[in-house]
């Protein structure tokens, strides 16, 4: 996925909030990243290193919290953790379970001074 442009968006949102709160620096940024969001956390961290320079976040720590994938079977309503890409219900075998969580890419919280 596009970790550079995602990180740019995340930083933009973070910097908006920081300046709105009158911060002089950002201490940390926490992102929640879903297991099936197609985001590679290492690439996101690398992008952060590149982009935080010369901003209020230049000395900030990046925390990435994974969010587990959960699906709900459309046939029997069982909730399950998808073992692979097919989202097959472990109870009745129906493929294509509905995604309940795991797609999130979210700026969760920030510490500022």
């Amino acid at each position: 996925m596009h970790e550079m442009s995602l990180m740019q968006s995340a930083l933009d949102v973070a910097l908006d909030h920081a300046s709105g709160a009158g911060a002089t620096r950002i201490v940390s940024i926490t992102l929640r990243v879903g297991e099936i969001s197609s985001v590679v956390p290492e690439a996101l961290a690398f992008a952060f290193e590149c982009m935080r320079e010369d901003t209020l976040a230049s000395g900030a720590t990046l925390h990435i919290e994974p969010v587990a994938a959960r699906c709900r079977c459309r046939a029997c309503a069982t909730e399950f953790h998808p073992p692979g890409a097919v989202f097959e219900c472990p109870d009745c075998g129906r493929p294509g379970g509905e995604v309940v969580s795991g797609r999130e890419i979210e700026l969760s919280r920030m510490e500022i001074e």
Partner: protein, 231 residues
């Protein structure tokens, strides 16, 4: 001593794209325009499908096309002269259409009086899947020359498709394409999707595709009339 504070944010990060896409979608729906995002690998037949479709609907439905490619305006040239205003988006290095590109293109093209807006995405089975561009429905093309397992290999794209169109069916036998395996592959990742088979070259299957388009337009217009009454 600087004051240390914690801000709870909880904001989605793809937010900017999704906000713009929601605006595009609302504008199009209000104007009664049915917008379709066409996704596929390069060479699966998106432009050929549009060539055949625009010819088939000329005089009956008013269409417009926004087509994205990294380079060239070849696709826009191919689609010109078929009764639908066509705008080429040259993305440069960007491997997908995003909502801001589509917003700018619609503003330039104008969508008044249009029944059908085709958004032909950049040929790519990976990145376009992640970007809402304000479409009403998503169509994923799978050509018989690609083999039956592409849906399993690129599940995110196929999972988000409302319609999967199997294309180039006229040459299926020459590449030993197995429709049963392909259907199983599609159903494994997108059991809710409608699946149609079409040959843009011979016209086989075009009727069902055109009927699907008509149904989508009617459903959109019916929903909007209902919403208008509520408003």
């Amino acid at each position: 001593m600087p004051e240390h504070r914690v801000l709870e944010i909880r904001e989605p990060v793809l937010g900017r794209n999704d906000e713009i896409a929601a605006g595009v979608r609302a504008d199009l729906e209000r104007a009664g325009v049915f917008a379709l995002n066409l996704l596929s690998s390069p060479g699966a037949g998106k432009t050929a499908l549009l060539e055949a479709t625009l010819t088939a609907i000329a005089g009956r439905l008013r269409a417009a096309v926004i087509v994205g490619d990294l380079q060239t305006d070849n696709d826009a040239r191919r689609l010109a002269g078929r009764g639908a205003p066509t705008l080429q988006v040259v993305t440069g290095d960007i491997c997908h259409l995003d909502a801001s590109m589509v917003r700018r293109a619609i503003d330039q093209l104008g969508a008044e009086g249009i029944d059908l807006l085709f958004l032909e995405n950049v040929g790519n089975l990976v990145c376009p899947a992640a970007f809402d561009i304000g479409e009403g429905r998503r169509v994923a093309l799978l050509s018989v020359t690609e083999g039956e397992d592409k849906p399993r290999k690129y599940p995110t794209l196929f999972r988000t498709a409302d319609l999967v169109l199997i294309t180039k069916t006229d040459i299926a036998q020459h590449v030993d394409f197995d429709i049963g395996i392909a259907m199983a592959s599609i159903m494994a990742v997108a059991p809710e999707a409608t699946v149609l088979q079409v040959s843009s070259r011979t016209g086989v299957g075009m009727d069902a595709w055109l009927a699907w388009l008509d149904t989508q337009i009617t459903e959109l217009r019916t929903r909007e009339t209902g919403n208008g009454a509520e408003r």
